[in-house]
């Protein structure tokens, strides 16, 4: 390996994501190369800094208290939150409604547990007079109306008068409350799909690779389109059912290796997809056309008794050429037959890193 190839593996190496074999190849190079040793040292230091994230400020001390107080304000338990969620949310905001808007709010007010402070014009306050002794009207024309069935909670969030700034933001929140509720729906999609994180099957394989977005993931969907696509544009599809996915080796941006195991014979099958631009490098020979007998990178294949065969094909997608390599301990004609049976499904357009 030369320094440039080491550079390509640097992050995976320092994150300990490489196979022991590839790792030892890099170690070999590192032994004799001070420049790369230094790169590894700096990368590890970066890792440590990113892990510590010491620049992230501290949360204010009373954070948990604030959250719990907001939850105390909610009239509903989480189980009943689906219908009461919006109202629960509304009730968390201080409602301060001026003048003529007051009547419109009465309906809302019926749902609120505490007091609502209504700032009324004198002429509209006769409605309030029915439930509040006249003498309680305060000089600043603020009248507190006890709502039907409401207990006199000492809930200052609901009853305190507010300054102009708050008035606007409260109204703002009222107006946007509906949208916010929707947002929340989107924010909390259930993580579904793979029932288990560890077992990999071809069926799950479908879920791993096809770009079906679960419900409620629109936000992330946009994100995918915006970011310059993170999908290797190809993945194997249509493998015979006895092949279960065992692991994925992602050695660089442009090369990906899928390892399958035949559940009947326990033999491994390795499928490597490499972008053609990378085909000339040693990196390619390591992963794609490496000398079959002496390539130390494939312990899982070497443990199979028999002759290791390999077949290469090239395919072209979206104006780019990919080299596909299959390796397995099986007769060459069978391997080619297998290769022919596999479809390669496309993901989003793939752009290599510059």
């Amino acid at each position: 390996m030369n320094c440039q190839q080491i550079d390509e593996y640097l992050f995976a190496y320092c994150d300990e994501k490489l196979s022991p074999e590839l790792r030892s190849l890099i170690d070999e190079h590192l032994d004799g190369c001070e420049i790369c040793q230094n790169m590894v040292r700096i990368t590890r230091m970066e890792n440590q800094i990113l892990t510590d994230a010491a620049d992230i400020p501290l949360l204010s001390e009373d954070f948990s208290g604030q959250v719990m107080r907001s939850i105390f304000d909610q009239p509903s338990t989480p189980a009943g939150a689906s219908s009461a969620g919006l109202l629960a949310r509304l009730s968390r905001y201080r409602l301060y409604i001026g003048g003529t808007a007051a009547a419109a709010v009465i309906l809302l007010a019926l749902y609120l547990p505490g007091f609502i402070t209504l700032d009324m014009n004198l002429e509209s306050s006769n409605m309030a007079d029915r439930s509040v002794p006249a003498g309680e009207s305060t000089a600043d024309q603020t009248t507190q109306i006890p709502l039907p069935g409401a207990k006199a909670l000492e809930n200052s969030d609901h009853s305190s008068a507010s300054n102009t700034q708050d008035e606007f933001s409260a109204v703002d929140k009222l107006l946007t409350a509906d949208n916010t509720g929707e947002d929340r729906q989107k924010m909390a999609p259930e993580i579904d799909g793979n029932d288990s994180y560890t077992s990999s099957t071809v069926k799950q394989n479908d879920q791993y690779y096809t770009l079906t977005l679960p419900e409620g993931s629109e936000i992330i969907d946009q994100d995918l389109n915006e970011s310059e696509l993170d999908l290797l544009s190809m993945h194997p599809n249509n493998l015979p059912a006895e092949y279960k996915m065992e692991k994925i080796i992602n050695t660089s941006c442009n090369v990906i290796t899928y390892v399958y195991r035949n559940t009947a014979t326990d033999h491994a099958l390795e499928i490597t997809i490499a972008l053609q631009e990378d085909a000339g490098s040693t990196q390619r020979s390591l992963l794609v056309t490496g000398g079959l007998g002496d390539d130390p990178d494939q312990e899982y294949l070497r443990s199979d008794a028999g002759v290791l065969n390999s077949t290469n094909t090239s395919i072209s997608r979206q104006g780019r050429s990919f080299e596909i390599n299959l390796k397995a301990v099986m007769p060459l004609d069978k391997l080619q037959e297998l290769a022919n049976s596999i479809d390669f499904e496309e993901g989003l357009p793939y752009e290599p890193v510059d």
């Binding site: 700096i42 440590q48 105390f72």
Partner: protein, 208 residues
């Protein structure tokens, strides 16, 4: 350990605390808040980039979690579920603002820096180098696209595995590694640019 209700919290799994919360046990929920608040805030802060905003979003995340607990599937880990809500909430918050958040470096909030910095480093040369790099990274990280900031935080600071990160970001598992590789490359590029701008020695590019 005592919670705010004066009750003893025995070491309980996050998942059990979540089901207790769903049954109306507020003490259990408070324990969840305490367990996750710093991690959720770190993630939100990295994406949103501004302290007060991040704190508001973090609070909203916990209220959302409380409201949506009935949707949480107890057979799965709680952590990826809450981090997913946090990621989506942060990205929504960022979009609502419809502008790039510029980190205000004049902000002086107490940070983990002081806490962590009594670390292993005793070599003054190394210490200096690390501090310099810390400053570079802190500045550079906010120049990354938000999906890169998220994936870096999930991998390194929150120490999640690839499957969990894939579930949180709604990408396939193999693309987690791809995205991390690109994010780290991009981060390094920005660090180099920063150094170049200040005319410093380009030690990181020594072998290019």
């Amino acid at each position: 350990m005592l919670n705010g209700f004066g009750e003893l919290i025995v070491l309980t799994s996050d998942e059990l605390l979540a089901s207790k919360s769903l049954n109306g046990d507020l003490a259990a929920f408070e324990e969840l808040v305490n367990r996750f608040k710093n991690r959720v805030f770190a993630l939100v802060y990295r994406i949103v980039g501004q302290h007060q905003e991040a704190e508001d979003v973090t609070q909203d995340v916990f209220l959302t979690v409380y409201e949506k607990l009935y949707q949480y599937d107890n057979s799965k880990n709680f952590a990826p579920w809450i981090f997913r809500i946090a990621t989506n909430a942060s990205i929504s918050a960022l979009r609502r603002k419809k502008k790039v958040v510029i980190l205000n470096f004049e902000e002086s909030y107490p940070s983990n820096y002081e806490l962590n910095n009594a670390s292993f480093l005793t070599d003054p040369q190394l210490m200096f180098e690390r501090k310099e790099l810390e400053k570079e990274i802190s500045a550079a990280i906010m120049k990354l696209p938000e999906n890169y900031r998220a994936v870096i935080t999930l991998r390194y600071h929150l120490d999640l595995d690839n499957q969990e990160i894939a579930d949180i970001l709604d990408i396939s598992r193999e693309n987690v590694e791809v995205r991390i590789h690109r994010a780290r490359k991009a981060l390094r590029k920005i660090i180099l640019q920063q150094k170049e701008e200040r005319g410093m020695k380009l030690e990181l590019s020594a072998n290019r």
